[in-house]
């Protein structure tokens, strides 16, 4: 690879994480629309179907700080709950995985 090609890839290398994060934010901001649409058709996952057929019930002793992607502040209109939960989750995931990456990084 030539020096100029190297520098081009290097420049992209600095830019692509920002583009990737912008895409992630786009996904999160579209989540209220998906939640609304899924609600309209009746959201049922296969595991819920199996539980219904066999009579299985959850114990539900731990709900988390943001139960089922809601927020403790109360309902936020327009799907704001899932949007805020999504932003918190994405932020946490980034922090945790980048920290794991730093712990595992190669020794030079």
């Amino acid at each position: 690879m030539t020096a100029s090609a190297d520098s081009k890839v290097g420049a992209d290398g600095r830019r692509w994480p920002k583009l990737g994060l912008a895409t992630v934010l786009l996904l999160v901001t579209s989540s209220p629309a998906f939640a609304w649409a899924a609600e309209r058709v009746g959201y049922t996952e296969p595991l819920e179907v199996a539980a219904e057929r066999t009579g299985a019930e959850t114990t539900g002793w731990y709900a988390g700080a943001f139960p089922d992607y809601t927020v403790p502040l109360g309902t936020i209109p327009g799907g704001g709950d899932i949007l805020l939960s999504g932003l918190i989750g994405v932020g946490l995931t980034l922090v945790v995985t980048v920290s794991i990456g730093h712990l595992l990084r190669e020794h030079k």
Binding site: L25, F34, V49, A51, F66, G86, L92, T93
Partner: protein, 216 residues
């Protein structure tokens, strides 16, 4: 796909927690001191992207919905062991912070989505490299999520909460996800194709060199 507390018998939950701990231990051992700095942002972006993609419940007319799981994509983009760790982070945050998946059954959920989904998806991707070069990413996405669902079917079907109705749980989980897996395979294929065109050097198994170039 996320199993809540109460669905699995404790011995089954414990067994899969031990298996998961073993797989995560192997991943940490393989990667410790080996991860190039240049791949750390990719790890963060892929994991965050999978978290965000799992938020999207795709409405399917007829009264069902599915969400992208992303284990195969993580394995393909990050490589198998880093993919496992990325999915471990996503699924653990979902359980601890959002109550999505139980805590007592976290080991089983990690086994299904962070170990089986990632490793089966990656294995299919690599095995079909020369035989099915065009459709292998789709098949990897489909196979990974279906294999994970079959494990959910096994774990629940062998538990008292599901009255040991293994045939029901396997049929609903395996059969249901074999169909819903078409969506998983399609999204995996599209995301992979986009990234391969835009940044081929970040695909798993390749390594970004010190100057930013690709080292095979």
């Amino acid at each position: 796909m996320h199993i809540p507390d109460g669905f699995l018998d404790l011995p089954i939950a414990a067994m899969f927690a031990v298996l998961t701990a073993g797989a995560v231990g192997v991943a940490l051992k393989r990667l410790n001191g080996e991860l190039p700095n240049e791949r750390i942002p990719l790890l963060g972006v892929v994991a965050a992207g999978i978290f965000a993609a799992q938020l999207l419940n795709w409405p399917i007319p007829g009264g069902t919905s599915a969400h992208f799981v992303g284990g195969s994509l993580a394995g393909i983009l990050l490589g198998p062991w880093l993919g496992v760790l990325a999915m471990v982070a996503v699924v653990t945050i979902q359980a601890l912070v959002f109550g999505d998946g139980g805590l007592l059954v976290l080991g089983a959920n990690l086994w299904n989505m962070a170990v089986v989904n990632v490793l089966v998806g990656y294995a299919v991707f690599r095995l079909l490299e020369h035989r099915v070069p065009v459709g292998r990413v789709f098949l990897a996405g489909w196979a990974g999520v279906t294999a994970a669902a079959v494990f959910v079917g096994l774990q629940t079907g062998l538990s008292s909460a599901f009255a040991y109705q293994l045939e029901v749980t396997l049929l609903v989980m395996g059969g249901g996800h074999a169909i819903l897996g078409i969506l998983e395979g399609g999204i995996t294929h599209l995301v992979y194709r986009f990234i391969r065109e835009a940044r081929p050097d970040v695909i798993g198994g390749r390594r970004i060199g010190r100057a930013g170039g690709v080292e095979e």
